[in-house]
């Protein structure tokens, strides 16, 4: 690698920060957990996961969000499932989350703090879900 200028160094730091922020879990209070059991993977959880990664980058949430994977949540009939836990929002499990819905979850649930209707399968009480 060639010698760097101050600008190069700053640019490199910003570029690589995202990668390392993802590795760090301290101080992050939003958890997005993707069900990646056999059922989840078969239903397309991998592309869901990728879409969440991309959305987190898109909305610059890499400092706040931990994306984890977990095994089967027992909701095999609505896989891929995605659980979101964060302060100020009810812990929610979403089902049938494809790549498009995944992006919507990041945008609406995490950024705008509104639930993504039609995909909720557990937790929030019935009266706060608007049909």
């Amino acid at each position: 690698m060639a010698k760097m200028t101050l600008e190069d160094l700053r640019k490199l730091r910003d570029e690589r920060k995202k990668d390392l922020n993802r590795r760090d879990v301290e101080g992050k209070n939003v958890q997005i957990i993707v069900g990646m059991g056999t059922c989840g993977i078969a239903a397309g959880a991998k592309s869901t996961f990728d879409a969440i990664l991309a959305a987190v980058d898109e909305f610059h949430l890499d400092k706040d969000v931990v994306i984890r994977q977990t095994g089967c949540m027992g909701l095999c009939y609505v896989e891929p499932t995605v659980e979101v836990a964060m302060p100020g929002m009810p812990a929610t499990i979403y089902g049938k989350v494809d790549a498009a819905v995944a992006r919507e979850i990041v945008q609406k649930h995490v950024v705008e703090k509104t639930l993504v209707e039609n995909h909720i399968f557990d937790r929030p009480a019935a009266d706060i879900i608007q049909k």
Binding site: R13, E15, V66, I67, R68
Partner: protein, 595 residues
């Protein structure tokens, strides 16, 4: 393509020696074989500190903390966790006698720790400069070169109140300021990485896990004092640390973070590695510089201090590894932030290498002012095998033993000195009831006899005299006058020695004499060693009432001095016995007696 998972494998010397490298290679191979290479980044990092349970493998973001991992476990980690998203439960850290699996943040070992020096250890790949940069690496250098004057850098250190972590606790800013103000066109920056206390490995782990933090700080030091040349003096017994340091220097040079015109600022700085042959005395700064010049490593009288006339008689700034590792953080987060951590007179944190009779031996970093009890019983998990705590040896061969009644005093430079020990570089050896006070001081004195350079008489003769008296007592031939002699010679050495090696060599003896005088008296008057460590004073015998004649002890005895018929009581021939204690250990019926 972004990675979904990260597997961090500990690459410290401790874990490497229990096959961490093989685990790392197996993980890479398995990830490839199972087609998930693009999903997971496998990184070899520096020491996690939890050496007792190594090799450590940590998987993120699930925060799975795997302990005592074997190379053969790699396949399962990949197939279960990375492919299927399930933790490998059998490898997770469990508390002793407790079945619950413990999450990383709940492991007591980490709860009371606060990591500044070890901030990147176990997080980044130490062989990749980009990962260091991403963790705000070289941001402090950037700030120093472009936003601060050299005086500002020193002022920031003054605000921070950082004191030398090599043991003496001299204010770091003052050292920097003196060297800066010293007259001379050529000045040097030295990093003392000649860590030599038995059982201490803080500096090794810092360099192994985060070499760039030291290089960055040395460059900042160069800017602050007006020097263009730095040396890292490191012992040749640290091959992994040297290797990582070499890689780090090469990467920094290639990127223009070392060398001429750093980042276009016009400031030049270069760092070279110098290997020491592992003489303890070369950790003493004047001896270190002699050795660095290619001469025999022997201390020279101070003053003049290195800040005025050091390496090749030029003004020289010399700090140890841990001190440097604090500097970049102080500049990026500010001196005020740093000064609020720890205690008023001893701000910041201290890294300790916790070893000996303790459950969780390893590397710990705690805010100053933490009590020894918290370190030994909370972080360290208490004494192994439920035995009784006896004392903590701090400061290595220069320190003393702190016993039970002083466990609650907060750790600061002053408090440890007041207790007859010293901060030292941070080795902390825990002793239990099976350790003998006389034997421990004899061990340290033997070390000092070996390591004394022989230049000055108080140290050369004093250590030998103390050692022969201690040996005499441990053999049961001690007299009451020996105790006075130990004190008299010890105090003379403390006053008259040329450097701190001799000046502090008597500390372990003097502190045990103070705190464990009854044990010395037992050795002299009753010819008894209660811990059974002083072999000459121990007699093994077999209780015929308890012995069932299984013959296990006779089979284990390395000198075949135990005889007896099957199912009959056995007998030990005391004249042949080498007192290895093997029979005592293996007997299942408590029939072997130790007196």
């Amino acid at each position: 393509m972004a990675y979904k998972n990260f597997i961090l494998v500990c690459g410290g010397t401790g874990c490497e020696s229990s096959k961490a490298d093989e685990i790392y290679r197996n993980l890479l191979a398995e990830a490839e074989a199972q087609g998930v290479k693009a999903d997971v980044q496998i990184v070899k990092t520096g020491c996690f500190g939890f050496c007792e349970k190594g090799p450590i493998v940590k998987v993120l973001p699930s925060e799975s903390f795997y302990v005592e991992v074997k190379p053969s476990d790699a396949k399962e980690i990949i197939s279960e966790q990375i492919v299927k998203g399930r933790e490998v439960k059998r490898l997770l850290y469990k508390k002793e006698q407790q079945k619950d699996i413990v999450k990383l943040e709940d492991i007591e070992f980490y709860q009371k720790q606060f990591r500044i020096v070890l901030r990147n250890c176990g997080v980044i790949n130490p062989e990749n400069i980009e990962e260091y940069i991403a963790r705000d690496g070289y941001a402090a250098l950037e700030k120093a070169l472009f936003e601060m004057k050299p005086e500002d850098v020193i002022a920031e250190l003054k605000t921070a109140g950082l004191r030398g972590r090599g043991g003496a606790g001299f204010p770091t800013w003052m050292k920097w300021d003196l060297t800066r103000k010293a007259a001379g066109d050529v000045k040097y920056v030295i990093c003392n990485a000649d860590e030599g206390d038995p059982g201490a490995y803080m500096d090794r782990s810092t360099i192994e896990g985060d070499p760039h933090s030291v290089l960055e700080a040395m460059t900042i030091a160069g800017y602050a004092i007006g020097s263009n040349k730095g040396f890292v003096y490191i012992r040749a017994e640290y091959p992994l640390a040297i290797e990582r340091l070499k890689i780090a220097i090469a990467q920094s040079k290639a990127m223009g973070l070392l060398g001429d015109d750093i980042l276009g600022s016009g400031f030049d700085f270069d760092i070279e590695i110098r290997l020491g042959a592992g003489a303890f005395v070369c950790g003493e700064e004047t001896a270190l510089m002699q050795s660095l010049e290619g001469k025999r490593g022997m201390p020279v009288p101070k003053p003049p201090f290195p800040a005025i006339s050091g390496l090749w008689k030029k003004p020289t700034l010399i700090n140890n590894v841990e001190t440097y590792a604090n500097v970049p953080v102080i500049l990026t987060k500010g001196g005020t932030w740093f000064s609020k951590i720890g205690t008023e007179k001893s701000p910041g944190t201290k890294v300790f290498a916790l070893t000996g009779a303790i459950n969780n031996s390893g590397l710990v970093e705690v805010p100053m002012g933490t009590t020894l009890r918290e370190i030994v019983f909370d972080i360290g998990g208490g004494i192994k095998g439920g035995r009784k705590f006896k004392g903590v040896q701090t400061g290595g061969p220069s320190g003393g033993i702190i016993c039970e009644k002083d466990l609650d005093s907060p750790i600061t430079y002053e408090s440890l000195t007041a207790l007859g020990s010293m901060m030292g570089s941070g080795g902390m050896i825990v002793l239990d009831e099976d350790d003998c006070a006389v034997d421990v001081s004899r061990f340290y004195m033997e070390f000092c006899v070996d390591e004394s350079c022989g230049k000055c008489a108080p140290c050369r003769i004093g250590t030998n005299q103390l050692h022969s008296i201690l040996t005499k007592i441990s053999k049961g031939n001690g007299e009451m006058s020996d105790l006075d002699n130990l004190e008299r010679i010890g105090k003379a050495m403390t006053k008259a020695s040329l450097c701190l090696l001799g000046g502090s060599a008597a500390n372990p003896t003097l502190s045990t004499l103070k705190h464990f005088r009854d044990e010395y008296l037992e050795h002299i008057q009753e010819h008894k060693c209660r811990a059974g460590k002083c072999k000459a004073l121990v007699v093994y015998s077999i209780d015929p009432a308890k012995c069932i004649g299984c013959g296990l002890c006779a089979r284990r005895c390395p000198v075949n001095c135990i005889t007896g018929e099957k199912k009959q009581a056995h007998v030990i021939d005391a004249s042949q016995c080498i007192k290895c204690g093997e029979c005592f250990k293996v007997c299942k019926f408590n029939a072997v007696l130790k007196k």
